[in-house]
Amino acid sequence: MFNIDFNGEFAAFFIFSAIMIIGAVLMVSLQKVVHMVISMAGVFLGLAGMFVLLDAEFVAFVQVLIYAGAVSILMIFGIMMTNHQAAKADPVKPLHETLAAIAALCLFGILFYAIRMTDFPDAQPMPAILDNTSGIGELLYTGYVVPFELLSVLLTVAFIGAIAIAKKGADQ
């Protein structure tokens, strides 16, 4: 059914997926928010390892820089700027949590069924690319130059907007 051959890639995949699932489950089950962010950083690092397995070295290092570095630190900033002291236990809503768990499990069941039922055709051999990074760079500056520039504008606008929003209340 699963027809997986146990080679090195499978072992590495198993280790990385164990790291990611443990980190994600810890993220939803830990009590303190800072611990949640740290376990999330573990998930991001595991995902970077999985990108390396998939021959996407550049994306892997971008993942480490942006997610494990910037986004985690940004979230810790957000927690520190808001009320990280509020360690009081929230009133639990068993019905709400149960319904959310059922929804997530149903979605996973549907996705898993679809993945298992789909017959993925064999991939053509990957065209020989000498260097992952230079290949991505050429593609970004030839075929995808317009989306690339639009994204640069979006990122600039978003960061200036973030500064403006966060600063507005500070000078009162």
């Binding site: 993945i115 298992r116 970004l140 973030a162």
Partner: protein, 100 residues
């Protein structure tokens, strides 16, 4: 190997969905959304290697997604800080004006 990667991405997406639905702290809700976006990235990169026509396009799409997710995280945290200044809390249960 492709179904394994897709299943892994589905697991991550569902955990992120559960976290986004259940967690009260808005920062953790943002983090759960990041987890869901990461699962999508894993799908894109997996198809860029194991898809029918392997190419680098999937990795370029993943880079675009990472960029948009970074912008989203920055704006989200800024909005949360402004909300915290105005209301003194980041508990998502207390932001329910639109419901009344």
């Amino acid at each position: 190997m492709l179904p394994s990667y897709l299943t892994m991405a589905a697991i991550l997406f569902c955990i992120g969905l559960y976290g986004a639905l259940v967690k009260r702290n808005a920062v953790i809700v943002l983090l759960s959304i990041e987890l869901m976006l990461n699962a999508v990235n894993l799908n894109l990169v997996a198809f860029s290697k194991y898809g029918v026509v392997p190419s680098l396009t999937g990795q370029v799409f993943a880079l675009f997604t990472i960029t948009v997710a970074a912008a989203e995280a920055a704006v989200g945290v800024a909005v949360l800080i402004a909300l915290f200044r105005a209301r003194g809390t980041v508990n998502v249960d207390e932001f329910d004006e639109m419901r009344r």
